[in-house]
């Protein structure tokens, strides 16, 4: 099953709706609750990253009996130093993002911790692509 969502940068009221939809789908498919939590925590963090940092983006979720594969691509400023961005506690989030409860510098580490496979590729001034794979069994 393939699901696609368009994400608008700066739209904090809608942030999380794609993750919520994926969560509902996985529950309907009877996926184990601990797997669902890993998928949606990783996806929600990545979705919030697009809203917080990019102009717009797209989420593609591929769900098979074996795994969940998520690809998030955005058009935005990109990440100049990925290693630094992966450091727990490091954040470039704006005051507005922090007021929404994010910007603790735990987003990328949270995604990485919940993923079985995690890839990130970024081009400064163009955008970022994040790929997350989580095994179902």
């Amino acid at each position: 099953m393939d699901l696609t969502f368009q994400i608008q940068g700066g739209d904090f009221t809608s942030a999380g709706t794609a993750s919520s939809e994926v969560r509902r789908t996985l529950k309907e498919l009877g996926v184990d609750a601990s797997v669902i939590k890993r998928v949606v925590v990783a996806l929600y963090e990545a979705e919030v990253n697009i809203v917080a940092h990019a102009y717009k983006g797209e989420i593609m979720a591929q769900i098979s009996p074996e795994q969940v594969f998520l690809r998030l691509t955005d058009q935005g400023p990109g990440i100049p130093d990925i290693e630094k961005a992966m450091t727990p506690g490091y954040s470039t989030a704006s005051q507005e993002v922090r007021e929404m409860g994010f910007g603790a510098g735990m987003g990328l580490p949270n995604i990485c911790r919940n993923a079985d496979v995690f890839n990130i590729h970024s081009v400064p001034d163009k955008g970022t692509t994040v790929e997350i794979t989580i095994q179902i069994n």
């Binding site: 999380g16 919520s20 969560r23 939590k37 929600y44 963090e45 919030v48 929404m100 409860g101």
Partner: protein, 114 residues
């Protein structure tokens, strides 16, 4: 500790969701930073937060939490209440500060998640 006892202890009010008289909780986690909440693997805790917007409910939803206690006497916006209702989350408000609410709950035997 039952949810009813917790509500009474923090002078709280339940805004959304239904609770059975025997419904109880053993753990709490207090934070205004949602990514910190999302680092907690377990789901059997109550979230104490001062973050009065939809993202605290979204975080509870993704973390599979049933109870959110909004502290500091904040009035949650309608979309936050609606989202809690939609997700079957019990949203409680308390006039107490995060420190006071946490202290009262800890003193009454509620444990931290780590």
């Amino acid at each position: 500790m039952t949810i009813q006892e917790i509500v009474s202890l923090v002078q709280g009010k339940i805004l959304t969701g239904k609770i059975a008289p025997e419904e109880s909780i053993e753990y709490c986690f207090a934070s205004d930073l949602m990514s910190d909440v999302l680092t907690v693997c377990r789901s059997d805790f109550m979230l104490l937060t001062g973050l009065s917007n939809v993202q605290s409910i979204r975080t509870a939803e993704m973390s599979d939490l049933k109870y959110v206690l909004l502290v500091r006497g904040k009035t949650p916006p309608k979309e936050m209440v609606d989202l809690a209702e939609e997700n079957g989350i019990v949203l409680i408000i308390s006039p107490y500060s995060m420190f006071k609410a946490s202290g009262l709950l800890y003193g009454a035997g509620i444990k931290g998640v780590f």
